[in-house]
Protein backbone atom coordinates (compact mmCIF):
# COMPACT_ATOMS: atom_id res chain seq x y z
CA UNK A 1 0.00 0.00 0.00
CA UNK A 2 2.95 2.30 -0.27
CA UNK A 3 2.69 4.75 -3.09
CA UNK A 4 5.71 4.82 -5.34
CA UNK A 5 5.68 8.55 -5.82
CA UNK A 6 6.30 10.71 -2.86
CA UNK A 7 5.19 14.24 -2.78
CA UNK A 8 7.52 14.50 -0.18
CA UNK A 9 6.92 14.76 3.42
CA UNK A 10 10.64 14.95 3.17
CA UNK A 11 10.67 18.19 1.22
CA UNK A 12 8.47 19.68 3.85
CA UNK A 13 10.84 18.35 6.49
CA UNK A 14 13.71 20.14 4.90
CA UNK A 15 11.81 23.34 4.22
CA UNK A 16 10.52 23.51 7.74
CA UNK A 17 6.88 23.35 6.75
CA UNK A 18 4.38 21.19 8.51
CA UNK A 19 3.18 18.21 6.50
CA UNK A 20 0.47 17.65 9.06
CA UNK A 21 -1.08 20.94 8.04
CA UNK A 22 -1.65 19.44 4.63
CA UNK A 23 -3.54 16.50 6.06
CA UNK A 24 -0.74 14.07 5.52
CA UNK A 25 0.38 11.60 8.16
CA UNK A 26 4.07 11.57 8.83
CA UNK A 27 6.22 8.74 10.03
CA UNK A 28 8.74 9.45 12.72
CA UNK A 29 10.65 7.12 14.97
CA UNK A 30 8.20 4.80 16.69
CA UNK A 31 5.36 5.87 14.47
CA UNK A 32 3.47 4.05 11.78
CA UNK A 33 4.36 3.98 8.16
CA UNK A 34 3.76 7.30 6.48
CA UNK A 35 0.96 7.54 4.03
CA UNK A 36 2.36 9.41 1.12
CA UNK A 37 0.07 10.85 -1.49
CA UNK A 38 0.57 12.61 -4.72
CA UNK A 39 -0.34 16.23 -4.38
CA UNK A 40 1.21 18.17 -7.14
CA UNK A 41 4.41 19.24 -8.71
CA UNK A 42 5.75 21.47 -6.00
CA UNK A 43 7.21 18.70 -3.87
CA UNK A 44 10.45 17.20 -4.94
CA UNK A 45 11.03 13.75 -3.68
CA UNK A 46 10.91 10.18 -4.72
CA UNK A 47 10.08 7.29 -2.46
CA UNK A 48 11.50 3.89 -3.04
CA UNK A 49 10.80 0.82 -1.08
CA UNK A 50 12.86 -2.24 -0.37
CA UNK A 51 12.26 -5.30 1.68
CA UNK A 52 14.76 -7.09 3.86
CA UNK A 53 14.48 -10.04 6.13
CA UNK A 54 11.99 -9.10 8.83
CA UNK A 55 11.99 -5.41 7.98
CA UNK A 56 11.34 -2.96 5.18
CA UNK A 57 12.86 0.35 4.24
CA UNK A 58 11.24 3.45 2.80
CA UNK A 59 13.75 5.74 1.22
CA UNK A 60 12.92 9.30 0.32
CA UNK A 61 15.32 11.32 -1.77
CA UNK A 62 14.83 15.01 -2.40
CA UNK A 63 16.27 17.26 -5.09
CA UNK A 64 18.48 18.95 -2.54
CA UNK A 65 20.27 15.65 -2.05
CA UNK A 66 18.67 14.98 1.30
CA UNK A 67 18.03 11.28 1.77
CA UNK A 68 16.02 9.82 4.60
CA UNK A 69 15.45 6.13 5.21
CA UNK A 70 12.82 4.81 7.54
CA UNK A 71 13.17 1.23 8.71
CA UNK A 72 9.94 -0.56 9.57
CA UNK A 73 9.47 -3.84 11.38
CA UNK A 74 6.97 -6.47 10.36
CA UNK A 75 4.26 -4.63 12.27
CA UNK A 76 4.84 -1.49 10.26
CA UNK A 77 6.48 0.40 13.13
CA UNK A 78 9.46 2.61 12.43
CA UNK A 79 12.31 1.29 14.54
CA UNK A 80 15.06 3.34 12.92
CA UNK A 81 15.70 6.33 10.73
CA UNK A 82 18.85 7.34 8.92
CA UNK A 83 19.64 10.54 7.08
CA UNK A 84 22.27 12.14 4.93
CA UNK A 85 22.20 15.47 3.18
CA UNK A 86 23.49 18.99 2.83
CA UNK A 87 21.57 20.27 5.83
CA UNK A 88 20.36 18.66 9.01
CA UNK A 89 16.80 17.37 8.60
CA UNK A 90 14.19 18.46 11.07
CA UNK A 91 14.97 16.03 13.86
CA UNK A 92 11.81 16.99 15.73
CA UNK A 93 9.89 15.27 12.98
CA UNK A 94 12.27 12.38 12.40
CA UNK A 95 12.56 11.54 16.08
CA UNK A 96 8.90 12.20 16.77
CA UNK A 97 7.99 11.64 20.39
CA UNK A 98 11.62 10.91 21.19
CA UNK A 99 12.90 14.36 20.32
CA UNK A 100 12.53 15.74 23.83
CA UNK A 101 14.61 12.88 25.21
CA UNK A 102 17.25 13.55 22.58
CA UNK A 103 17.35 17.28 23.31
CA UNK A 104 17.72 16.57 27.02
CA UNK A 105 20.59 14.19 26.34
CA UNK A 106 22.32 16.85 24.23
CA UNK A 107 21.93 19.40 26.98
CA UNK A 108 23.52 16.97 29.44
CA UNK A 109 26.65 16.55 27.35
CA UNK A 110 29.88 17.91 28.65
CA UNK A 111 31.06 20.65 26.27
CA UNK A 112 28.07 20.50 23.93
CA UNK A 113 29.10 23.53 21.91
CA UNK A 114 30.35 22.84 18.43
CA UNK A 115 30.17 19.07 18.77
CA UNK A 116 30.53 17.92 15.22
CA UNK A 117 29.84 14.27 15.95
CA UNK A 118 27.50 13.24 18.70
CA UNK A 119 26.32 9.92 20.02
CA UNK A 120 23.75 9.77 22.75
CA UNK A 121 22.83 6.29 23.89
CA UNK A 122 19.99 5.56 26.26
CA UNK A 123 18.50 2.12 26.77
CA UNK A 124 15.47 3.08 24.70
CA UNK A 125 16.96 5.50 22.19
CA UNK A 126 20.27 5.83 20.38
CA UNK A 127 20.99 8.87 18.22
CA UNK A 128 24.15 9.53 16.26
CA UNK A 129 24.34 12.87 14.52
CA UNK A 130 27.40 14.16 12.72
CA UNK A 131 28.63 16.39 9.97
CA UNK A 132 28.66 19.98 8.89
CA UNK A 133 27.10 22.20 6.28
CA UNK A 134 27.21 20.37 2.93
CA UNK A 135 27.30 16.91 4.53
CA UNK A 136 25.31 15.82 7.55
CA UNK A 137 24.75 12.17 8.29
CA UNK A 138 23.15 10.35 11.15
CA UNK A 139 20.92 7.64 12.42
CA UNK A 140 18.58 6.98 15.26
CA UNK A 141 17.00 3.79 16.47
CA UNK A 142 14.92 2.30 19.23
CA UNK A 143 16.90 -0.68 20.54
CA UNK A 144 13.81 -2.34 21.92
CA UNK A 145 12.13 -2.41 18.50
CA UNK A 146 15.08 -3.49 16.38
CA UNK A 147 14.11 -6.88 14.90
CA UNK A 148 16.20 -9.78 16.12
CA UNK A 149 18.80 -10.68 13.58
CA UNK A 150 18.90 -7.15 12.17
CA UNK A 151 22.48 -6.00 11.76
CA UNK A 152 22.97 -2.49 13.15
CA UNK A 153 25.76 -1.66 10.69
CA UNK A 154 23.07 -1.93 8.02
CA UNK A 155 21.52 1.21 9.43
CA UNK A 156 22.96 3.68 6.94
Amino acid sequence: MISRTCKCALFLLVAGLNPLALGRAHAGLGGDSASVQDDGADLHGVVSYEIGSGYSVQEITAESGMRVREFLDENGRVFAVTWSGPVLPDLRRLLGERFAEYAAALAALKNPGLRRSVRVAMPDLVVESAGHLRAYVGRAYLPVLVPSGFSLPDLR
Binding site: F11, V14, A15, G16, H44, E63, S64, P86, V87, L88, D90, R92, F99, A100, A103, A104, L106, A107, L109, K110, N111, P112, G113, L114, R115, R116, S117, V118, R119, A121, E128, S129, A130, G131, H132, L133, R134, A135, Y136, V137, G138, R139, P153, R156
Partner: protein
Protein backbone atom coordinates in the same frame (compact mmCIF):
# COMPACT_ATOMS: atom_id res chain seq x y z
CA UNK B 1 84.22 63.21 -1.82
CA UNK B 2 85.53 59.80 -1.00
CA UNK B 3 83.01 59.43 1.75
CA UNK B 4 80.20 60.43 -0.51
CA UNK B 5 81.32 57.88 -3.01
CA UNK B 6 81.24 55.25 -0.38
CA UNK B 7 77.70 56.17 0.45
CA UNK B 8 76.36 56.36 -3.03
CA UNK B 9 78.31 53.70 -4.74
CA UNK B 10 81.81 53.51 -6.10
CA UNK B 11 81.30 55.60 -9.20
CA UNK B 12 79.29 58.32 -7.54
CA UNK B 13 75.90 57.34 -8.90
CA UNK B 14 72.99 56.64 -6.61
CA UNK B 15 72.51 52.96 -6.09
CA UNK B 16 69.01 51.95 -7.03
CA UNK B 17 67.21 51.20 -3.84
CA UNK B 18 64.61 48.53 -4.14
CA UNK B 19 61.68 49.50 -2.01
CA UNK B 20 61.18 46.38 -0.02
CA UNK B 21 57.72 45.80 1.36
CA UNK B 22 57.89 44.14 4.72
CA UNK B 23 55.88 40.96 4.68
CA UNK B 24 52.50 41.27 6.34
CA UNK B 25 52.52 40.00 9.90
CA UNK B 26 50.64 36.75 9.52
CA UNK B 27 51.07 34.92 12.79
CA UNK B 28 48.62 34.89 15.65
CA UNK B 29 49.01 33.39 19.08
CA UNK B 30 46.95 30.27 19.53
CA UNK B 31 46.12 29.41 23.11
CA UNK B 32 44.59 26.24 24.49
CA UNK B 33 43.18 27.12 27.89
CA UNK B 34 40.07 26.68 29.97
CA UNK B 35 38.10 29.40 28.28
CA UNK B 36 36.78 32.92 28.70
CA UNK B 37 36.06 34.51 32.04
CA UNK B 38 32.75 33.30 33.33
CA UNK B 39 32.61 30.31 31.02
CA UNK B 40 35.67 28.29 31.88
CA UNK B 41 35.94 24.54 32.01
CA UNK B 42 36.75 24.09 28.35
CA UNK B 43 38.87 21.17 27.30
CA UNK B 44 40.94 20.99 24.11
CA UNK B 45 39.62 24.32 22.89
CA UNK B 46 42.11 26.43 20.94
CA UNK B 47 41.47 30.17 21.07
CA UNK B 48 42.56 33.30 19.24
CA UNK B 49 41.92 36.98 19.75
CA UNK B 50 40.80 39.30 17.00
CA UNK B 51 39.89 42.91 16.37
CA UNK B 52 36.52 43.80 14.87
CA UNK B 53 35.51 47.24 13.63
CA UNK B 54 32.57 48.85 11.92
CA UNK B 55 33.40 48.81 8.20
CA UNK B 56 35.89 51.52 7.37
CA UNK B 57 36.35 52.60 10.97
CA UNK B 58 39.55 52.51 12.99
CA UNK B 59 37.93 53.70 16.19
CA UNK B 60 34.61 51.95 16.51
CA UNK B 61 36.22 48.66 17.29
CA UNK B 62 36.41 45.90 19.85
CA UNK B 63 39.02 43.35 20.75
CA UNK B 64 37.49 39.93 21.25
CA UNK B 65 39.42 37.22 23.03
CA UNK B 66 38.70 33.51 23.33
CA UNK B 67 37.34 32.97 19.86
CA UNK B 68 37.34 29.23 19.18
CA UNK B 69 39.50 28.09 16.28
CA UNK B 70 37.44 25.80 14.04
CA UNK B 71 38.89 24.09 10.99
CA UNK B 72 35.63 22.21 10.50
CA UNK B 73 33.53 25.18 9.42
CA UNK B 74 33.82 28.40 7.46
CA UNK B 75 32.99 31.83 8.77
CA UNK B 76 33.20 33.96 11.85
CA UNK B 77 30.43 33.82 14.42
CA UNK B 78 30.39 36.05 17.49
CA UNK B 79 28.05 36.10 20.44
CA UNK B 80 25.78 39.15 20.41
CA UNK B 81 26.10 39.91 24.11
CA UNK B 82 29.89 39.93 23.78
CA UNK B 83 29.66 42.56 21.04
CA UNK B 84 27.10 44.52 23.02
CA UNK B 85 29.36 44.54 26.08
CA UNK B 86 31.87 46.43 23.97
CA UNK B 87 29.18 48.66 22.51
CA UNK B 88 29.70 47.36 19.02
CA UNK B 89 26.50 47.26 16.98
CA UNK B 90 27.01 45.93 13.49
CA UNK B 91 24.64 46.70 10.68
CA UNK B 92 22.74 43.67 9.46
CA UNK B 93 22.63 42.57 5.84
CA UNK B 94 19.29 42.91 4.11
CA UNK B 95 17.89 41.16 1.08
CA UNK B 96 16.21 42.63 -1.98
CA UNK B 97 12.97 43.03 -0.02
CA UNK B 98 14.74 44.90 2.74
CA UNK B 99 14.40 41.99 5.11
CA UNK B 100 17.17 41.21 7.58
CA UNK B 101 19.24 38.21 6.58
CA UNK B 102 19.57 35.71 9.40
CA UNK B 103 21.07 32.27 9.49
CA UNK B 104 20.58 28.90 11.17
CA UNK B 105 23.59 26.60 11.29
CA UNK B 106 23.46 23.09 12.70
CA UNK B 107 26.13 21.04 14.34
CA UNK B 108 26.04 17.83 16.33
CA UNK B 109 25.45 19.53 19.63
CA UNK B 110 22.78 21.94 18.53
CA UNK B 111 22.07 24.92 16.33
CA UNK B 112 23.03 28.53 16.25
CA UNK B 113 20.76 31.34 15.05
CA UNK B 114 21.27 34.99 14.37
CA UNK B 115 21.60 37.81 11.85
CA UNK B 116 24.39 38.29 9.35
CA UNK B 117 26.29 41.47 10.16
CA UNK B 118 29.16 43.13 8.31
CA UNK B 119 32.46 44.18 9.85
CA UNK B 120 36.15 44.69 9.23
CA UNK B 121 37.98 41.91 11.06
CA UNK B 122 41.71 42.02 11.69
CA UNK B 123 44.02 39.34 12.96
CA UNK B 124 47.80 39.88 13.13
CA UNK B 125 48.50 42.22 10.20
CA UNK B 126 45.71 40.84 8.03
CA UNK B 127 42.29 42.39 7.54
CA UNK B 128 39.10 41.00 6.07
CA UNK B 129 37.15 44.07 5.02
CA UNK B 130 33.35 44.09 4.98
CA UNK B 131 33.29 40.52 6.17
CA UNK B 132 29.83 38.97 6.58
CA UNK B 133 29.73 37.37 10.01
CA UNK B 134 27.03 35.59 11.97
CA UNK B 135 25.92 37.29 15.16
CA UNK B 136 24.83 34.47 17.43
CA UNK B 137 21.75 35.95 18.94
CA UNK B 138 21.92 34.89 22.57
CA UNK B 139 19.76 37.81 23.65
CA UNK B 140 17.26 37.27 20.81
CA UNK B 141 17.37 40.93 19.91
CA UNK B 142 16.55 40.01 16.34
CA UNK B 143 13.88 37.79 14.88
CA UNK B 144 13.08 34.63 16.83
CA UNK B 145 14.45 31.44 15.30
CA UNK B 146 12.11 29.56 12.98
CA UNK B 147 10.60 26.35 14.36
CA UNK B 148 13.21 24.15 12.71
CA UNK B 149 16.09 26.01 14.31
CA UNK B 150 16.79 24.89 17.81
CA UNK B 151 13.29 24.24 18.99
CA UNK B 152 12.95 22.37 22.27
CA UNK B 153 16.26 23.38 23.68
CA UNK B 154 18.91 22.59 21.11
CA UNK B 155 19.71 26.23 20.37
CA UNK B 156 23.21 27.22 21.47
CA UNK B 157 24.03 30.87 20.99
CA UNK B 158 25.84 31.95 24.11
CA UNK B 159 29.31 32.01 25.58
CA UNK B 160 28.62 29.20 28.03
CA UNK B 161 27.35 26.89 25.32
CA UNK B 162 30.58 27.17 23.37
CA UNK B 163 33.00 28.06 26.19
CA UNK B 164 33.93 30.80 23.77
CA UNK B 165 33.04 34.32 22.73
CA UNK B 166 32.74 33.16 19.17
CA UNK B 167 33.83 30.67 16.56
CA UNK B 168 36.46 31.36 13.90
CA UNK B 169 35.70 29.00 11.03
CA UNK B 170 38.81 28.66 8.90
CA UNK B 171 38.06 25.41 7.11
CA UNK B 172 38.40 24.40 3.48
CA UNK B 173 35.69 26.65 2.05
CA UNK B 174 35.40 30.38 1.51
CA UNK B 175 31.69 30.56 2.36
CA UNK B 176 29.87 28.53 4.95
CA UNK B 177 27.10 27.29 2.66
CA UNK B 178 28.38 27.87 -0.85
CA UNK B 179 26.63 27.28 -4.15
CA UNK B 180 23.86 25.18 -2.66
CA UNK B 181 22.53 28.27 -0.91
CA UNK B 182 22.73 30.49 -3.97
CA UNK B 183 20.16 29.18 -6.41
CA UNK B 184 18.36 26.20 -4.94
CA UNK B 185 14.90 25.62 -6.37
CA UNK B 186 13.69 25.16 -2.83
CA UNK B 187 15.90 27.35 -0.60
CA UNK B 188 17.67 25.37 2.07
CA UNK B 189 16.81 26.12 5.71
CA UNK B 190 20.09 27.94 6.25
CA UNK B 191 19.66 31.58 5.30
CA UNK B 192 16.42 33.44 6.00
CA UNK B 193 14.91 36.80 5.22
CA UNK B 194 13.17 38.14 8.32
CA UNK B 195 10.57 40.90 8.39
CA UNK B 196 10.44 43.57 11.06
CA UNK B 197 7.66 41.54 12.60
CA UNK B 198 10.11 38.65 13.01
CA UNK B 199 8.65 36.40 10.34
CA UNK B 200 11.46 34.51 8.63
CA UNK B 201 11.46 32.63 5.34
CA UNK B 202 14.27 30.51 3.96
CA UNK B 203 15.87 32.11 0.95
CA UNK B 204 18.83 31.95 -1.40
CA UNK B 205 21.75 34.27 -0.74
CA UNK B 206 24.59 35.26 -3.08
CA UNK B 207 28.06 34.01 -2.24
CA UNK B 208 29.27 37.52 -1.47
CA UNK B 209 26.60 37.92 1.17
CA UNK B 210 27.16 34.58 2.88
CA UNK B 211 29.07 34.18 6.11
CA UNK B 212 32.66 34.01 4.91
CA UNK B 213 35.95 32.52 6.06
CA UNK B 214 37.92 35.66 6.96
CA UNK B 215 41.12 34.24 5.47
CA UNK B 216 39.41 34.13 2.09
CA UNK B 217 38.99 37.92 2.16
CA UNK B 218 42.53 38.83 3.19
CA UNK B 219 44.43 40.80 0.54
CA UNK B 220 47.32 38.32 0.75
CA UNK B 221 48.00 35.09 2.63
CA UNK B 222 44.51 34.09 1.65
CA UNK B 223 44.81 30.52 0.40
CA UNK B 224 44.58 28.75 3.74
CA UNK B 225 46.11 28.48 7.18
CA UNK B 226 48.81 26.68 9.11
CA UNK B 227 48.38 25.58 12.71
CA UNK B 228 51.39 24.74 14.86
CA UNK B 229 51.03 23.30 18.32
CA UNK B 230 53.65 21.63 20.48
CA UNK B 231 53.25 18.30 22.19
CA UNK B 232 51.83 18.54 25.68
CA UNK B 233 54.29 18.58 28.52
CA UNK B 234 51.94 16.25 30.36
CA UNK B 235 49.77 14.18 28.05
CA UNK B 236 47.37 13.70 30.95
CA UNK B 237 46.70 17.36 31.27
CA UNK B 238 48.35 20.71 30.69
CA UNK B 239 46.80 23.83 32.15
CA UNK B 240 47.50 25.62 28.91
CA UNK B 241 49.28 25.21 25.60
CA UNK B 242 50.57 27.95 23.32
CA UNK B 243 50.96 27.63 19.58
CA UNK B 244 50.53 29.61 16.39
CA UNK B 245 47.88 30.22 13.80
CA UNK B 246 49.60 31.32 10.59
CA UNK B 247 47.74 32.83 7.67
CA UNK B 248 48.55 31.66 4.18
CA UNK B 249 50.19 28.48 2.92
CA UNK B 250 53.50 28.82 1.08
CA UNK B 251 53.12 32.57 0.82
CA UNK B 252 55.84 33.66 3.23
CA UNK B 253 58.93 32.19 4.78
CA UNK B 254 57.00 31.24 7.90
CA UNK B 255 54.36 29.12 6.15
CA UNK B 256 56.38 27.23 3.56
CA UNK B 257 55.26 23.73 2.67
CA UNK B 258 57.92 21.19 3.53
CA UNK B 259 59.61 19.44 0.62
CA UNK B 260 59.20 15.99 2.14
CA UNK B 261 57.21 14.21 4.75
CA UNK B 262 53.93 15.94 4.01
CA UNK B 263 50.69 14.01 3.90
CA UNK B 264 48.13 15.80 1.77
CA UNK B 265 44.52 14.71 2.02
CA UNK B 266 42.33 16.11 -0.73
CA UNK B 267 38.80 16.85 0.43
CA UNK B 268 35.64 16.22 -1.55
CA UNK B 269 33.02 18.80 -2.50
CA UNK B 270 31.60 18.53 1.02
CA UNK B 271 34.93 19.16 2.69
CA UNK B 272 35.58 15.60 3.82
CA UNK B 273 38.28 13.05 3.13
CA UNK B 274 37.75 9.40 4.10
CA UNK B 275 38.97 7.11 6.84
CA UNK B 276 38.70 3.56 8.03
CA UNK B 277 39.06 2.84 11.73
CA UNK B 278 41.16 0.09 13.26
CA UNK B 279 40.69 -2.46 10.50
CA UNK B 280 36.94 -1.99 10.08
CA UNK B 281 36.32 -1.81 6.31
CA UNK B 282 33.54 0.76 6.65
CA UNK B 283 34.62 3.95 4.88
CA UNK B 284 33.78 7.02 6.94
CA UNK B 285 33.74 10.71 6.04
CA UNK B 286 36.53 12.39 7.98
CA UNK B 287 38.08 15.77 8.64
CA UNK B 288 40.78 17.43 10.69
CA UNK B 289 38.61 19.41 13.09
CA UNK B 290 40.09 21.71 15.68
CA UNK B 291 36.56 22.44 16.86
CA UNK B 292 36.17 18.87 18.15
CA UNK B 293 37.81 18.11 21.48
CA UNK B 294 38.67 14.45 20.96
CA UNK B 295 39.18 11.72 18.42
CA UNK B 296 35.46 11.30 17.81
CA UNK B 297 34.30 7.97 16.42
CA UNK B 298 32.34 4.91 17.48
CA UNK B 299 33.99 1.75 18.74
CA UNK B 300 31.48 -0.47 20.49
CA UNK B 301 34.28 -2.58 21.97
CA UNK B 302 35.58 0.25 24.13
CA UNK B 303 33.88 1.10 27.40
CA UNK B 304 32.30 4.54 27.73
CA UNK B 305 32.94 6.56 30.89
CA UNK B 306 29.72 6.24 32.84
CA UNK B 307 30.29 9.10 35.23
CA UNK B 308 32.71 11.80 36.25
CA UNK B 309 34.20 14.71 34.40
CA UNK B 310 34.61 12.73 31.19
CA UNK B 311 31.27 10.98 31.04
CA UNK B 312 30.52 10.02 27.47
CA UNK B 313 34.14 9.73 26.37
CA UNK B 314 36.02 6.44 26.21
CA UNK B 315 37.30 4.82 29.38
CA UNK B 316 39.19 1.81 28.01
CA UNK B 317 39.37 -1.10 30.41
CA UNK B 318 43.05 -1.50 29.68
CA UNK B 319 44.64 1.88 29.15
CA UNK B 320 46.22 3.26 27.17
CA UNK B 321 44.58 1.41 24.32
CA UNK B 322 46.36 1.62 20.99
CA UNK B 323 44.27 1.94 17.86
CA UNK B 324 44.85 3.21 14.37
CA UNK B 325 42.98 4.95 11.60
CA UNK B 326 43.82 4.98 7.91
CA UNK B 327 42.93 8.18 6.14
CA UNK B 328 42.61 8.66 2.42
CA UNK B 329 42.44 11.85 0.45
CA UNK B 330 39.88 12.40 -2.28
CA UNK B 331 40.72 13.34 -5.84
CA UNK B 332 44.23 14.12 -6.93
CA UNK B 333 45.70 14.12 -3.42
CA UNK B 334 44.49 10.68 -2.46
CA UNK B 335 47.45 9.13 -0.72
CA UNK B 336 46.56 7.03 2.26
CA UNK B 337 48.12 7.50 5.62
CA UNK B 338 48.03 5.49 8.83
CA UNK B 339 47.73 7.32 12.10
CA UNK B 340 48.36 5.38 15.28
CA UNK B 341 46.98 6.90 18.42
CA UNK B 342 46.34 5.94 22.00
CA UNK B 343 43.22 6.21 24.08
CA UNK B 344 44.03 7.03 27.67
CA UNK B 345 41.87 6.54 30.71
CA UNK B 346 40.44 9.97 31.50
CA UNK B 347 40.26 9.05 35.16
CA UNK B 348 44.02 9.52 35.20
CA UNK B 349 43.75 13.04 33.82
CA UNK B 350 44.79 16.10 35.77
CA UNK B 351 41.63 17.65 37.12
CA UNK B 352 40.97 21.18 35.85
CA UNK B 353 43.61 20.94 33.14
CA UNK B 354 42.61 22.27 29.72
CA UNK B 355 44.55 20.11 27.26
CA UNK B 356 44.61 16.34 26.96
CA UNK B 357 46.49 14.36 24.35
CA UNK B 358 44.84 10.97 24.23
CA UNK B 359 41.17 11.74 24.61
CA UNK B 360 38.72 9.81 22.45
CA UNK B 361 35.05 9.16 22.25
CA UNK B 362 31.77 10.95 22.10
CA UNK B 363 31.28 10.34 18.38
CA UNK B 364 28.85 8.40 16.26
CA UNK B 365 29.46 5.56 13.86
CA UNK B 366 28.89 7.57 10.72
CA UNK B 367 32.07 9.69 10.76
CA UNK B 368 35.64 9.81 11.99
CA UNK B 369 36.74 13.16 13.36
CA UNK B 370 40.38 14.01 14.06
CA UNK B 371 39.89 16.50 16.87
CA UNK B 372 42.36 18.56 18.89
CA UNK B 373 44.39 15.61 20.19
CA UNK B 374 45.58 15.11 16.60
CA UNK B 375 46.79 18.71 16.44
CA UNK B 376 49.20 18.53 19.38
CA UNK B 377 52.77 18.08 18.23
CA UNK B 378 51.90 18.66 14.57
CA UNK B 379 51.88 21.30 11.87
CA UNK B 380 48.51 21.22 10.14
CA UNK B 381 47.63 22.90 6.86
CA UNK B 382 44.11 23.67 5.70
CA UNK B 383 43.87 24.73 2.06
CA UNK B 384 40.88 26.70 0.80
CA UNK B 385 38.77 25.44 -2.09
CA UNK B 386 40.16 26.34 -5.52
CA UNK B 387 43.11 28.29 -4.15
CA UNK B 388 46.63 27.25 -5.01
CA UNK B 389 49.11 26.52 -2.25
CA UNK B 390 52.45 25.47 -3.64
CA UNK B 391 51.93 22.40 -5.79
CA UNK B 392 48.48 21.78 -4.36
CA UNK B 393 45.01 23.20 -4.79
CA UNK B 394 42.34 23.28 -2.15
CA UNK B 395 40.26 21.91 -0.69
CA UNK B 396 42.79 19.88 1.25
CA UNK B 397 44.07 19.09 4.71
CA UNK B 398 47.74 18.31 5.20
CA UNK B 399 50.15 17.50 7.99
Amino acid sequence: MGLLSACFGGNGTTAATAIKTAPVLNTLTLSVDSGPTGASGAINHAYVSLRICLPGSQTQCANIDHVLLDTGSAGLRLVRSVLAAQSLALSVETDAQGHAIEECVSFGGGQTWGPVGVADVSMAGETAAKLPIQIMDDTLAGAPPPPTCGANGTLIDGVSGFNANGVLGVGVFAQDCGDMCVNAGAPLPVYYGCTNAGVCSAENVALTAQVTNPVALFATDNNGIVIRLPNLQNANGDASVTGELIFGINTQSDNALPATGLTVLGADTHGDFTATYNGNPLVLPALLDSGTDSFAFDDPTIAVCASGAFVGYYCPAVAPQSVYVISSGVGVNNAGSTVNFAIADPNTFVASAAAFADLAGGGGSTNFTFGMPFFYGRTIYVGIDQRAAGAYTGPFYAY
